[in-house]
């Protein structure tokens, strides 16, 4: 276990060195990554999403791709397509950006629904099929999608069913004044990150992910507790559709990573409760149109009504 904890530790030190004032966001992104999920960031531009993605990719020496979504983006622009090779005289598959380990999908809600679903499909299945041929995606595969606040013009908001594929939805928020000052003084850290060397290698990361998945224990009490919360979201009057089984599963995965990050090999209630504002609200379809904070308030009330599993 110590070996794998060291991996986490190294990555965290790396982030601390290059990224300022984003501890919480980094932590959430890391949790998502190690629980084999994908991250959705809803934020204004220019707050460091790309830097975060590059930092994650750089720190573990994996490759990084980026898609800037527009409304004329086609599914093949993401997955790749067969191109005729004149020299060889045959079609050969040209991989799209999705074949990177870490993929930053910028402003995903600007893409058309067709493109969106192609992307989300690939995220779920971890493979793409082009013209009848199936191609496995790389491992690890981690998507960081960003979307502007849904009020923006010319967007296609992601439906809740699609949002379910993201383990977490977070927002970075503005850095604090001190951190911002630090950033201004030092200039953009992007260059430094690009010059840095990876602190861990890909195989170590994959082993760690595997270790977490296999060895962190989740007691039945915790599972029952989670199921009770899930059940309540399905019965609640304010909620049209509650948490899915996939949602519950990904919450368990996040909890496992969270436990591991705290050097534990067992999950405690806090591992679930500390992250519910990021793991739950975007998967719930409320009857009324509520802001994210209102959703969290309603959820909090709901969770408090469930007896803790002591």
């Amino acid at each position: 276990m110590d070996k794998y904890l060291k991996v986490i530790d190294k990555i965290q030190t790396f982030f601390k060195k290059y990224l300022h004032g984003k501890d919480k966001a980094i932590n959430l992104a890391m949790l998502t990554f190690f629980s084999r999920g994908h991250l959705l960031i809803e934020d204004s531009p220019g707050l460091g999403k790309t830097t975060l993605a590059i930092a994650i990719a750089k720190s573990m020496g994996v490759n990084f791709g980026r898609i800037q979504c527009t409304n004329d983006l086609l599914p093949t622009d993401i997955t790749g397509l067969n191109i005729f090779n004149k020299e060889k005289g045959e079609f050969e598959f040209k991989q799209g950006p999705i074949f990177n380990n870490i993929l930053l999908v910028d402003e995903i809600n600007r893409a058309t629904p067709k493109t969106q679903s192609a992307l989300l499909e690939a995220m779920g299945e971890k493979q793409v099929t082009v013209e009848g041929k199936t191609y496995k995606l790389n491992k690890p595969f981690f998507v960081i999608a960003t979307q502007n606040s849904s009020e923006s013009y010319g967007t296609f908001p992601l439906p809740e069913s699609q949002l379910d594929r993201f383990v977490m939805k977070i927002s970075l928020g503005y850095p604090s004044k001190e951190d911002e000052l630090e950033i201004l003084k030092g200039g953009s850290s992007r260059g430094k990150i690009n010059d840095s060397n990876p602190v861990v290698d890909k195989s170590e990361v994959l082993e760690t992910i595997d270790y977490i998945n296999r060895n962190v224990k989740v007691s039945d009490k915790i599972l029952n507790y989670l199921l009770e919360i899930v059940g309540k979201t399905r019965e609640n009057d304010m909620i049209l559709s509650g948490l899915s089984t996939r949602a519950a599963l990904s919450i368990v995965n996040v909890a496992k990573s969270s436990a591991f990050f705290s050097s534990r090999d067992y999950v405690i209630p806090e591992d679930i409760l500390n992250y519910y504002p990021y793991t739950m609200p975007h998967r719930l379809l409320f009857k009324e149109r509520l802001s994210n904070t209102d959703k969290i308030v309603a959820l909090k009330e709901l969770i408090r009504s469930v007896k803790l599993p002591y």
């Binding site: 224990k217 009490k221 067992y266 806090e270 408090r304």
Partner: protein, 628 residues
Amino acid sequence: MVKIIDLINYLILALVFVALLSVIKYVHFVFSVLLIVILGIFIFNEKKKILRLNRKVITIFAYVLSIFIFINSNLNSLILTLSHILIIFISVKLLEEKGYRDYMQIVVLCVFLITISGLFDLSMIFLFYILLAVFIINILVVLITVEDFEKDSFLSAKNIKTFIIKSSLIPLLALPVSIVIFVILPRTSYPLFGNIGLNTVASSGFSSKVSLGDVNSIQEDNRIAFRVVMKKVDYPLYFRGVVFDKFEGSVWKSEENGLQPADAKFDGEMIEYEMYLEPHFEKYLITVDYPYTLNMDKRVFINGKLEAKVKRNIDKKVRYAGISYYSDRIKIKDLNLEKYLDTSQIPNKIRELALRFMESSPVKSAENIEKYLKSNYQYSLAGLSTENEPVEDFLFKTKKGNCEYFASAMALLLRVNNIPARLVGGFKGGFYNERGGYYAVANKNAHVWVEAYIDGAWTRFDPTPAAIENFTNSRFLPVGLKIRLYFDYISYYWTKFVINYDFQKQLALYKNITLKFKNLDFKTSGKLFLKLLGVVIVIFFVVTYLKRKEDVNEGDYYVRRFYKLLKKKNIRVDEKMTLMENVDNIDKKELKSFAEMFVGEFYRMKFKENKLDNKRLNEIIKQCKKIN
């Protein structure tokens, strides 16, 4: 739109008010005022939710107060006491935070109170109250159930109307049915349980025959023979049963003595009493010596020997009232004295002894004999003579015996001296139960004494040395006996109110109720109140401790203890939040590190090992406690 909970509160208000109104004439005004004030607080509090009383504390308070009131009351005001206690409990329930159960309890308590009003006063107004209550309760119960089902729901004005009409139909339909049942169902005035346990009480300290030397376990029988409700007196009481006039060597018998009453002249202190006699399977009733009149629902007569007799054996508990005059002697014109002078069965040895006591007057002779027996012989229940001539044996050989020997010896010695003498079998002493206002007399108080006819009066002589315990002062009673007295008090209730339910008598008693309540003696029971409080508190803690140990899940137990500890250290605790979140609220470093340790260990045990290590957790909590 009306909130259902508001509707419930107003209906509760109405119901409690109706209940109070039904008894307001009878209860002490303090209680009425109390309830009205609390009703005000209740309505105000339900709106504003200002008062948040600790449920357990006020419940304990109510219990203690009720016990206090109960102890302070006397028998005759039982119903009044009950209504006071009910008022206290309604008040407490009104102040508490209320759930489904609590509303229902208020409803039931109100029904009790209204029912009690019917016991105070059997007028038509009772019917009005009970019907009104039934209508309110009907609506109320449905509303409470709805509220319990779905909290904070509303009802529109139109719905309220249809709802009230529909729920009122239930009692309307039930009413005719209950009237029919009321007519059909038999009402008993006969004790339902009278014949149960007949065999278990078959032995008693009293019998119509005295057989000297029979093994007599009765003298140690603590069971109650009868209870006499009367004033307390400071002299030992004699309770008269049978008069034995014929001696047959080792057996005294009571020969039938016609129907003509005694031509007696009663004087001395008059005693009015009410007797609750346990079955003894004889025809004799027990009376306070000397009986003047008796009043019973059966034919009873007092014969020339001042024995009270009924036609049939007393085979169930009976109650009768009487008037007696207490004195040492009673003047009776007795013409037929020969049988009291019968010396045919007396052995010669006794005759010789008897002559030694001859004095100038019969009184002196008798006193001489009494003094001789008292000073030269021992009272004993063991090693009694069982020979053919038990009296002779007693006088010359064993020199010890029970009351039967002493009395027999004296009677024989008197007869030889030509003084008419007879034995009286009954009871002597008994202990006075201050709370019940009665003497409880046990089988072991059974006694036999002598009556000698001197100067035209039957004079009582009791040659038995004072060995019979005479519990008249409850202050010196051992604790065990005190508790028994309490139990006796309860069984006395049972006898009085359930088995011998006498409706007329009760009605008469209720009229005095308010008067009697004013005689409450608060000073003497202050100490008792404190003691009681102590006992109740101890019981409360023991019960809560056991309960916690028993049915609370182990994890909850430690979490609760941990939170309690934090609260003691002035740390804000939200039990709905997780342990870690609560620990984050701690400012003090040292405490925080220990708290974190506790939570860490607890979680590890709970979610990894699946088994709590009690020792370790207790140890950490202990260390936490030490930190300031």
